[in-house]
Assembly symmetry: C2
Homo-oligomer: 299 residues x 2
């Protein structure tokens, strides 16, 4: 039996709808409008596209969107002065700096400058520590999105064997923490793992975030497993010269025949990231005002 | 072939000797004496014994030891005023508050009050976040001690399958982070793990910290594995009425016949904890003065 194809696009639309409802309720009940500030340094074309998408999505759920575009040679002191102003601005509940930043700036120092309560990308040391110790954190958007898809697909995750391939601070490590909080038995595998196919084949939940196109083959997948593909590699389109297409870390054709459920690429995890950015901004706004957090949109 | 019995007592004595040499070098070269402050609230007899051991061990390696004993009904404000003074005191490089504290105090709030740079127990959210993101942290003493024993026993840990049973903030989670940094494939198992014997049997490195006496049996151990037993349960002595003895989370008699190496209880992991507390205090002192960190005593 072929796997259920998890429709991340539809699910993300649902999340954005929930966020929009939460925003409307905040406005109606308290006169509060959540605001997201996005900082872009330099003119990377891909980053400009991402920032434009975020801006549009933020407006669509009824939030305020503040865009700050700085020249590529902006000194760190000027960037930090802007972040300090955004930290202090009561109309701004979430701040993200679009990465990569130009070489003279440090991503680590930039993230550290953002108030952890407004760090809606969940990248700061403080939010990593809160997540690691089981306290209330802002959680990195893509792992949060994967968790939402898994909860929707499986209900309780308790006792399931989860394998996360990849151990980045942005995805693999927080994903493992989230699955552990859900009472999964969690394995973190990575480039030094010696028997990766065998490790993957144990997984009831297999999350691939290695950044190597189609590395995970169908015969690595336990029959009936739920497979979450976080990889995005752009390759030339096989039929149309000059065009490209996106492929994941999982070899979809072979995996779909074995898995119980699987996210496609594109249209799986991808759309969840911006939806969770909006969810985190709403969450940060509610916390800033001491109001109850939106249900189903946080950990 | 029976397993190598890892002599944690001898190894810990070696670590204390390295710390003493580092302290002597700091004194001779820079006129600096590392200092450890221990705060005890109330009169728990077991805590008083621990604090006395720490005091003695601190003096033995040539450090200053500052003991602060507060009455059981000390208000939080008074405890925090003391911690603030210790945070500001340049002669104090490490601070620990002996837990448990009386019920009217919060361990979480107490740890959060300690300057992360002096948090030699490695319990703060900041140190958990630094460890989780691969930055320079102060690492919880018992997992640091286990890592030292494993490095000594195995050399490189890269590519090995490690299983940690237990997911406490104090031990299991930081232990998993340390093993991941060493490039192990790491699984965290716990009370909700459904097939624990099978999960354990995969492990080249098996670390048990469940707090259930002799739960891990020999037939759960992969032949040749290195077994680290973090459990300590006090039970009545089988031969001598009125006496007690300590037993671990691993059923030693059956595991020793299968493992490649194993820590006994007592005399395995236990002695490493205070040794690593001293190592962390030396490390914190070196960092506070911008001096190179002692080799082999940090992550």
């Amino acid at each position: 039996m072929a796997a259920t194809i998890i429709d991340g696009k539809a699910f993300a639309a649902g999340v954005r709808g929930q966020v929009a409802a939460g925003v409307a309720a905040l406005k109606a009940g308290h006169g509060i409008v959540p605001g997201l500030a996005v900082v872009l340094v330099g003119e990377d074309p891909a980053s400009e596209v991402y920032v434009a998408h975020k801006h549009q999505a933020t407006l669509e759920v009824g939030m305020r969107s503040f865009e700050h575009k700085l020249a590529a040679d902006t000194p760190e002191a000027d960037l930090f002065a802007l972040i300090d102003r955004l930290n202090a601005d009561p109309e701004v509940h979430g701040i993200l700096c679009q990465f990569p930043v130009p070489d003279h700036l440090s991503e680590r120092r930039t993230v550290a400058r953002i108030d952890p309560a407004k760090d809606v990308d969940g990248l700061s040391v403080t939010n990593a520590g809160l997540l690691a110790t089981g306290e209330r954190a802002l959680v990195s958007c893509t792992p949060l999105g994967c968790l939402m898809l898994l909860r929707d697909q499986l209900g309780s995750l308790s006792g399931k064997e989860a394998v996360v391939i990849g151990r980045s601070n942005l995805f693999g490590k927080p994903m493992a923490q989230l699955l552990l909080q859900e009472n999964c038995t969690v394995t973190i595998a990575h480039s030094r793992t010696t028997n990766l196919p065998e490790v993957c084949a144990r997984a009831d939940i297999l999350v691939a975030a290695v950044g190597r196109a189609e590395m995970v083959r169908g015969d690595w997948v336990k029959p009936g497993a739920t497979v979450i593909d976080v990889g995005i590699t752009r390759v030339p389109h096989p039929q149309t010269p000059g065009k490209t297409r996106l492929i994941g870390d999982v070899h979809f054709e072979s995996a779909v025949a074995v898995a119980g459920a699987i996210t496609p690429v594109p249209g799986g995890v991808g759309p969840m990231t911006i939806a969770c950015l909006l969810a985190n901004t709403l969450t940060a706004c509610c916390r800033a005002h001491g109001l109850p957090e939106p249900e189903g949109l946080t950990v």
